[in-house]
């Protein structure tokens, strides 16, 4: 695998406001990378710098080792899919898809072949002569995708392409985008604020917050081993709490007088250090029989049905914890006010960086 | 490099067209104003003193203002209930009413007055007899006034109706009515206490535009033979030089005032004008 797209120390200031700070990323050919974060975290600004709509204040962007930092947008050969589709309203579907090739002055016959090929890829051969206003939102976004891919771009950029669509279409189009990307083997950068989208689509996720990279890793890593409190809260909904280290070697911690055991590395810490721990709601369970470590006494505060999952809020010590259990007919739920025992494995107790 | 990009980004042509447009706007006004001051170097405002000292000016100007006021009131009484009823109960009449309110764009003032004179300068008779019910409207003062106010209502209808209808749409008049009804209000209370206060900025911009149209209007006024401000200014221009310039400048200021107030009440949405 070789580095295809690279951002080196890229920053962007708007006046005094720092939109993106010291962004470093190497993307391999064919990789699908998501920028995940809340609005205003700098993910779209970074994407627009790759597209050339914004100039980095400092740093360098390269594709295949060629510096494109100062290239105008129309000389970069990166395809972009916009949140608002941005289809040209005066052109048919086929004309939209062929636009990039036509301004490149390719032969009409070649353009026609390529357009048909792209129409087949998005399964819209029968809509070739429709105008954008005759299409649904999902269809429009598929055309926008085909239009961006038709120019055989080096990199495909997608700026929250699904956020204007209905929930059902969002899920099906998500799968379609991923399968087209894998089939063509194209390098893709995907901007989203939806953690589920990022987790399901990506090879790697870059979690961003207030202009900085919080964590870079595979969906598995980011979800299961968040390194910062922000990532823990933004990706999924973690229980977090402050604790004091009792024995770094054995992984023993003290949370308000309750003893916790963690199998996660504590080597750079020493006795008495304060740390933030995190436990995923689904890693906590009621089945405490026969266990000695990490068994906590709690009281049920609230029970919420979330469809396939039941969320129980319990008070452990002075803190509230969320517990998620799969909803099944045989489930034996406690009542509000019941005293219960909750437990988790030592692997589930994560130690966050800050 | 930095200097060149800045030079490239300076919108030269945009400034060029803007300044040209600004000159086109301002030069005739400046010329009129400076000409109106040039009558007597010792007394630059002589033209204004003469104009405002003439009782015929005041008579015609007040008369035109009365016509404008009557037009505005009658338009509100006609348009508000109609627009309200169509929004609330009779959406199927929307197309035909909107079509009718746009018709004045198709029937300019000169044609309208032509047809009006043709119809209302003959007496009303009982059909198939010679029994006269009413003298022709153009034969007596009150009749002429009715005719000219009706004509002005027609000319201002596109603006008045659209303004009121847009106002009703933005405040969602149907929900307001249902809320008032559920609280036990009767129709009179609903119209006067709920509807009118909520569309007052729309009414005001419609009224001001009507004012701008009516006060200087000359076609209907001169063909129906009333001594309004428009015909007075026209006649003044036939045999005087400086007073017409002064009054032209004053009527520009009045139009400006009306439009400025519209901008103020409607939050900066420009109104497109129509037939002159």
């Amino acid at each position: 695998m070789t580095t295809h797209l690279a951002l080196e120390n890229v920053s962007k200031n708007f006046g005094d406001f720092v939109a993106v700070r010291d962004f470093n990323l190497e993307v391999e050919r064919g990789e699908f990378v998501s920028f995940l974060g809340p609005s205003g975290c700098g993910k779209t600004t970074t994407l627009r710098m790759i597209a050339g709509f914004e100039m980095p204040s400092t740093g360098k962007i390269t594709i295949n080792g060629n510096d494109i930092t100062n290239n105008p947008p129309n000389q970069r050969n990166v395809g972009m899919v916009f949140q608002s589709y941005a289809l040209f309203p005066n052109m048919t579907v086929a004309q939209n898809i062929g636009f990039g090739l036509r301004v490149r002055k390719e032969k009409e016959a070649d353009i026609k072949d390529r357009v048909n090929e792209m129409l087949a890829t998005i399964h819209m051969e029968n809509k070739a002569n429709s105008y954008p206003y005759q299409l649904s939102g999902g269809q429009m976004q598929r055309v926008a995708l085909a239009r961006a891919l038709a120019i055989r771009p080096e990199v495909l950029l997608l700026d929250e392409p699904l956020s204007a669509l209905d929930a059902k279409i969002r899920v099906s189009l998500r799968a379609e985008i991923r399968s087209i990307q894998q089939k063509l083997g194209i390098t893709a950068i995907y901007v989203t604020h939806d953690q589920e989208e990022a987790l399901s689509l990506s090879d790697r996720i870059v979690v961003m917050n207030v202009g900085e990279m919080e964590q870079v890793g595979s969906p598995f890593e980011v979800y299961n081993f968040p390194t910062t409190r922000f990532v823990a809260n933004f990706v999924g909904s973690l229980n977090t709490a402050e604790a004091e280290i009792v024995d770094p070697g054995k992984g023993i911690l003290n949370m308000d007088g309750i003893q916790l055991l963690s199998s996660n590395v504590l080597k750079d810490k020493s006795k008495g250090d304060k740390v933030t721990i995190a436990i995923r709601p689904e890693r906590l369970s009621f089945l405490a029989e026969g266990k000695k470590e990490n068994v906590f006494d709690g009281k049920v505060e609230n029970i919420t049905f979330l469809g396939s999952v039941v969320r129980v809020e319990v008070t452990i010590g002075t803190r509230k914890f969320k517990m998620d259990t799969f909803n099944r007919p045989s489930l034996n739920l406690p009542n509000i006010g019941d005293a219960i025992k909750a437990t988790c494995s030592d692997k589930a107790v994560l130690i966050l960086k800050d | 490099m930095n200097f060149l990009t800045r030079l490239r980004r300076f919108p030269f042509w945009a400034w060029f067209w803007f300044i040209l447009g600004a000159l086109y706007f301002i030069l005739p006004l400046y010329a009129t104003f400076s000409f109106s001051l040039s009558w007597d170097p010792a007394d630059p405002f002589k033209a204004y003193e003469r104009s405002f000292g003439d009782s015929r000016f005041w008579n015609s100007f007040l008369y035109s203002n009365m016509l404008a006021l009557a037009t505005i009131l009658a338009s509100i009484i006609l348009v508000v209930p109609t627009a309200y009823w169509i929004r609330l109960r009779l959406p199927q009449a929307r197309r035909i009413v909107e079509f009718l309110t746009l018709m004045p764009f198709v029937v300019p003032a000169i044609i309208l007055v032509f047809g009006m004179i043709r119809i209302y300068s003959t007496p009303f008779t009982i059909p198939f007899t010679d029994i006269v019910l009413m003298q022709p409207l153009t034969n007596f003062r009150a009749g002429t006034n009715i005719l000219i106010v009706a004509g002005y209502m027609v000319l201002s209808m596109p603006y008045m109706y659209r303004s009121v209808d847009t106002g009703m749409r933005t405040v969602d008049i149907r929900t307001l009515t249902e809320a008032a009804q559920s609280l036990g209000a009767n129709w009179f209370t609903i119209i006067t206490r709920v509807i009118l206060p909520n569309i007052r900025s729309a009414l005001l911009s419609g009224a001001l535009l009507t004012f701008a149209i009516v006060v200087g209007e000359v076609v209907l006024a001169s063909f129906l033979g009333v001594s309004a401000f428009g015909p007075y200014l026209f006649l003044l221009g036939q045999h005087r030089a400086y007073e017409p310039a002064a009054l032209s400048f004053v009527s520009f200021l009045l139009t400006w005032l009306a439009m400025g107030l519209i901008q103020l009440v409607s939050g900066g949405q420009g109104q497109a004008a129509g037939a002159h």
Binding site: - | F25, Y30, V107, V219, L233, A258, Q263
Partner: protein, 294 residues
Amino acid sequence: MAQVSNSSGPMQATSWKVWLGVVPFFLFAVLFLLSPSFRLLTASFSAPDGSFTFDNIRQLFTEPLIVNSYRLSIQISAVTALGGGIFGFLLAYSVTVGGLPKPLRSILVTFSGVASNFAGVPLAFAFVATLGRQGFMTAILKDVFNVDMYEAGFNLYSFAGLSLVYMYFQFPLMVLIMAPALDGLKKEWREAAENLGANTTQYWLRIAMPVLLPSILGAMILLFGNAFGAYATAYALTGGRLGLVTIQIGAQIRGDVLYNPGLGYAMAVGMVIIMAVSLGGYSWLQSKTERWLK
């Protein structure tokens, strides 16, 4: 109201009563808008003795005086619609996407609102003071640039002069219509075009102009009708020396200058038809744009 009587059920009794609410409006429209127009229409098919005839309509196309007045009106409307349209578009462009400071836009729109409503006698006088023989600009051109416009053949009371006066309310109307249309150009279209490799010229030729074209054409048609129906400005400026359709009709109302009342009515009807066609063209093009820009 046929569908009302056809409808069944308990709604039937209330259905026709609901229409009572709009009776005053329709009565007003019939009395002061429809019947005057309709009377002109019937009268245009009447011979002097009251019998039915097509002669008046036929004479519209044969009587030189009338043909010339239509030609003149169409010429001046077309010239000022085109000139005012292009100039107004460039102005609207400069304050929307042209990169001028934001406050200039509201200044221009307010001015346009005033100027598009400033017509008739005061406008004519203002131009006499500007471009008349003793006008302000005429004097400046003579004294500063040593150009005598009137010696060079210009005359304010001519076709060219009246066109300049009409422009004063034509291009502001264009600004008022085009400024919102130019706002309808989405920033993303430009970005998408650039992203796909297009340069600025290609963006304007292939996307922006085709998207705007129906609005531009529609607005120019509206400008055409706006000038075609104008009377007061032309009459105040030229006193009837330029034989526009409106001026001829005005003369005919004052006295039967055509020596055939029916012909006067036919002229009026011909004018209404031209106005109706332009308004129809405008709304057709408008609906086409709205469909695109929704």
